[in-house]
């Protein structure tokens, strides 16, 4: 199976600049259907609304009001979304182990520590989506 560039991706990060970088990464890979959100509470409503089509969620862990783990739990408890791919991003190395364990329990698809280069995220997406046309960039 080759990459589906129209895959609907939901991106949640409260930091505007990081969000901008990630959107540019995703566009750079060729994705055309990206929904980026700043507020995790709005993201939760978006996820819970089953009219919205979501093929992949990429979320920051530490956000005001509601963290990435809560979003992950909501996704896994949602009858329509329990198998939706979910990539967790974090920058807190000190809590890494604890977080990995917690996220793993909630069946996180993948886990990335900031900062990371474009290829890293691209590889992870291709891996978890099971796409076979990943080519290392020059």
């Amino acid at each position: 199976m080759n990459a589906n560039y129209t895959l609907p991706i939901l991106l949640i990060d409260d930091d505007a600049m990081v969000r901008e970088v990630l959107v540019e990464y995703l566009k750079g890979y060729g994705f055309t259907n990206i929904k980026s959100m700043q507020d995790p509470k709005s993201a939760l409503s978006y996820i819970n609304d089953q009219k919205n089509s979501i093929g992949l969620i990429i979320s920051d862990w530490e956000m005001p009001g509601l963290n990435g783990l809560t979003l992950l739990k909501a996704v896994r408890n949602h009858p329509l979304r329990k198998n939706t791919s979910f990539i967790m991003i974090t920058s807190q190395r000190s809590m890494e182990r604890f977080k990995v364990t917690q996220a793993a329990q909630m069946k996180v698809s993948s886990y990335i520590i900031k900062p990371f280069r474009a290829d890293i995220l691209r590889k992870k997406i291709w891996d978890i989506m099971g796409w076979e046309d990943y080519v290392e960039s020059a």
């Binding site: 600049m17 990081v18 005001p64 920058s91 807190q92 280069r117």
Partner: protein
């Protein structure tokens, strides 16, 4: 302060008990200076009745020692027959780290220098040693001895008239050696206490630094993400305008990272220079706190209101005042949970600058108001060491001669009122 000292002492004593007992060795060393062999022998008979090394066998006529005043402490007596010998022995003992606790000094030593000269000389070498002058003549009034030895040594000497009784000698020996030991033991304990207190302060400081460090680490993750991401995007970018825009973002992010790092260095500087005080505007310190706490403030959705900001320069140790303000802010956030608010005011109130930090939490129950300022009292269970507020108070009141008060706000929440001395030169702030 006293209360903190008491409790810290209690805690540190528990930890150090074994240590302090083994470290402090009681000193029962006594110097006897007299040029008459018989007198020396009397001293030995009185002070070291069990000793076998009473080399001088002549028994003094006065040494009719009743059994009841037998010494229960083992005095170690060293004798000297003249000024020079005595001084040499004292120097040797000091060198070997085994100074005398006290000495009995004959006044007339047969040379040009007498017992008073000797003690004056000894006190220059070892001001802690007690001296008892033993004289047959009323050759000097106590006032003139005091004048000769100096007022600061008043409690370091006593005198006896010859002929002395066994009881007098034994009791003076007991009194002054135990005084010496008490003094030294107290000095050691005070030093240990100060050290324990310093360590506790230091570790408390580090724990609130840890709280800030987590925020800084998150912030750095984001900044590095921007830098790395934009650089990666720029690499693939053909359009020079877009590349330039990307590089601008990178520069902004590095500047921001540097700013945070500078503030963090201010906060975590544990060196002695951290005790130095400098002039700074009170509101600049609040600005620094907000930069340091930015992440925590954002994550807990805290609203910060600058109610009033008067420009007033204070003379403070920036590191420790930052500590206090960070501590208070963290406390407020804990008390309010998410979506709280703190109000900050800086006002000029005469000789002090007053910083008020008010939250909208539940405040502190009246009966607990005093308790929260006690060390080791905590409402945070295992999360808190309970040292936060007392240390804040120490820093403000002891280190800065300022005032620290916690009051429940009339309407809602807790207000910390900090008064800090203003800078000497009102416009001297940098």
């Amino acid at each position: 302060m006293k209360q903190l000292a008491k409790i810290v002492k209690h805690k540190s004593m528990q930890e150090n008990q074994a240590l302090s007992k083994s470290e402090f060795k009681h000193n029962h060393r006594i110097l006897v200076v007299d040029d008459e062999r018989e007198i020396i022998q009397s001293y030995l008979d009185i002070l070291t009745p069990e000793a076998e090394n009473n080399v001088i066998s002549i028994k003094s006529s006065r040494s009719q020692r009743p059994e009841t005043i037998r010494s229960d402490t083992e005095f170690r007596v060293v004798v000297a027959k003249n000024y020079d010998e005595a001084l040499a022995i004292v120097k040797k003992q000091i060198r070997e780290g085994a100074p005398f606790a006290m000495g009995f000094f004959d006044v007339l030593l047969g040379g040009s220098k007498d017992g008073f000269d000797l003690v004056k000389e000894i006190h220059d070498l070892d001001p802690n040693m007690y001296a008892v002058f033993v004289t047959a003549f009323n050759d000097r009034s106590v006032d003139s001895i005091q004048q000769f030895l100096g007022e600061d040594k008043t409690n370091r000497w006593d005198y006896l008239n010859k002929p002395f009784s066994n009881g007098e000698i034994l009791q003076k020996a007991r009194n002054f050696t135990s005084l010496w030991n008490l003094n030294e033991e107290k000095k050691l304990q005070n030093a240990q206490l100060a050290e324990a207190q310093r360590r506790l302060m230091e570790s408390e400081k580090l724990s609130s630094i840890a709280a800030v460090a987590r925020g800084v680490s998150h912030e750095f993750g984001n900044l590095l993400m921007q830098i790395m991401g934009k650089a990666d995007i720029c690499l693939a970018e053909k359009n020079p305008e877009k590349m330039k825009a990307g590089l601008e973002v990178i520069l902004d992010a590095t500047g921001r990272a540097n700013e945070i790092l500078e503030k963090f260095k201010d906060l975590s500087n544990p060196a002695e220079s951290a005790r130095e005080k400098t002039d700074i505007y009170a509101h600049s310190l609040l600005d620094e706190v907000l930069v340091l706490m930015e992440h925590k403030i954002k994550v807990s959705q805290l609203k910060v209101c600058r109610i009033k900001t008067e420009k007033v320069s204070i003379h403070v140790n920036q590191t420790s005042i930052l500590q206090v303000l960070v501590n208070l802010t963290i406390n407020s956030i804990h008390a309010m949970g998410n979506s709280g608010q703190i109000d900050l005011t800086v006002t000029d109130v005469g000789e002090f600058a007053e910083i008020r930090l008010r939250d909208y939490g539940p405040g502190i129950k009246k009966e607990l108001m005093d308790k929260v300022l006690e060390p080791f009292y905590t409402t945070k269970g295992k999360q808190g060491t309970g040292l936060g507020l007392p240390i804040c108070r120490e820093i403000i009141e002891v280190d800065h001669q300022g005032e620290f008060q916690l009051v429940n706000h009339g309407v809602k929440g807790l207000e910390a009122v900090i008064r800090l001395p203003k800078a000497c030169k009102p416009n001297g702030a940098v």
